[in-house]
Symmetry: C2
């Protein structure tokens, strides 16, 4: 349902065949759809149904997420040639087309957001632009690229909060806002904990590769300061469990558990490589999680 909604949104914002093709290439086939699935789970937990408004929010988040990836991958940014197992957008279509396709996706994310009929649209729009703009996701990208490898664990976690967690907060707090009477800081906090947990698990997964790039060695928080990164991970993970329990979010809990289960499996399977990189028995350090 979500993929067809995304396709519909792209068709409605772009009619030129090649430009449309590039946007579709950048968004589909979809990745994990992590942010839309968060919206769906929360909609089911809080309102018993995944409404049309929730669908618009989910779609806006995925389009926005895709734009950030397209721009992040640019030669002047991370210069990534592969994304989701295929050439990144600029690698496939060239740089200027990737810049423009990213811009078009960004605008279309706001276009889709505005299809939400709820009278809370202004609050939602404010949340969305705050999370994604120069105080949120973009600041995260700015600090990330500006760090030139000279960054400590606290700073990496701050970057995770901005670059990864903010959009997840827009998903979680936005979905809650659509289902409830007013904005709840608990959901905003929950989004932060999910985002940081998610990103630190990603960092751990990077360390299951035998060969690490010099860049990875410079910025992986578990390599920079193992105890501090472990502590941050365990704290976020425990906090999100507590918050889910408190709000009785069973759909969210089950959605995240699937995701965590995948991570447990892959980390267990590679625990030797992890232990080698980190010079510590990682599964023991992660005992709250594993």
């Amino acid at each position: 349902m979500l993929e067809s909604e995304i396709k519909k949104a792209i068709h409605s914002s772009v009619s030129h065949p090649e430009l449309r093709e590039i946007l579709e290439y950048a968004v589909l086939p979809a990745g994990k759809l992590f942010r839309p699935r968060l919206v769906e789970a929360l909609a089911l937990d809080l309102g018993k149904k995944f409404s049309q408004d929730h669908l618009h929010l989910a779609c806006a988040l995925e389009l926005h997420h895709a734009y950030t990836l397209v721009h992040d991958d640019l030669p002047a940014m991370d210069n990534d040639l592969i994304r989701r197992g295929k050439p990144s957008t600029h690698a496939k279509y060239g740089e200027w087309k990737a810049v423009l396709a990213g811009d078009a996706l960004l605008i279309s994310s706001f276009e889709v957001l505005m299809k939400i009929q709820s009278e809370k649209i202004r609050e939602l729009h404010r949340l969305f632009s705050w999370c994604t703009g120069g105080k949120g996701l973009i600041l995260g990208q700015f600090l990330d690229l500006g760090s030139h490898g000279k960054v400590n664990t606290t700073e990496v976690i701050r970057i995770h909060e901005l670059k990864t967690a903010r959009l997840i907060q827009a998903a979680v707090a936005g979905a809650a806002l659509l289902s409830q009477n007013k904005f709840s800081p608990d959901y905003f906090r929950l989004g932060r904990e999910i985002g940081v947990t998610f990103q630190l698990l990603d960092d751990l997964n990077e360390l299951t590769e035998e060969k690490l790039s010099p860049h990875e060695k410079d910025i992986n928080p578990f390599l920079l300061n193992h105890p501090m990164a472990m502590k941050a991970f365990n704290r976020s993970y425990v906090n999100l469990k507590i918050l889910m329990e408190k709000e009785n979010l069973s759909h969210l809990n089950s959605m995240l558990n699937h995701y965590f289960e995948d991570n447990r499996r892959s980390l267990s399977a590679k625990s030797e490589v992890l232990t080698l990189h980190l010079q510590s028995d990682v599964l023991k350090d992660l005992k709250g999680f594993m």
Copy 2:
């Protein structure tokens, strides 16, 4: 007033000192403020006052315009090193910072737009995103960069319509929408004619330089097909005069006349160079305008 509003908007969307500095550098000191001035003139013509809502619209348009310039100037796009008499944003701060500053300006334009309190905000948001997105301004940039100099006059004018006129249509039709009961196609049309006239005057002004770049020779509509470009210019100019008369827009008329007067002066002063490039007595061809 507008410049301080822009500064306020940037301060409210960005707090990191360097990122904020880059956004300010890209927007201020302001250029001609052509789009905001259109909003102001129409607000005075149609509603007797430049309301807070009109001010937000004007500010959103200028922030958006600035983002398009920052991204247009990128090495992968037009690779322009100078903008408004100073180094372009990427020339001054580097490419990745320019990409991110452009993205941040884009988001902040939607943030400011949404400050508009009018109940017509949804219609206005739709107009704004349609004009700026993949069916509007971005499509214009896409066709422009994709043309590789192999472009005819009809195509150049289509690009002008998309890349230049759409944002001007958002200014004109948006300002009218805020002042009137409903969306009027006349104002949408008027914005198109102002945009095309504005851009073709720009093309003519390029030809007052003695030396032309090879790129300029490839895409200047007056060099490609002099009679057709003159006809398009004269038609747009006459149409905008008729539309202004019909709607009795005296502030707009006086604002545009100042601008046209400047152009008449500079074209007259360089009529010999123009005549040389175009192998035709340009002032005679422009008699309706001059």
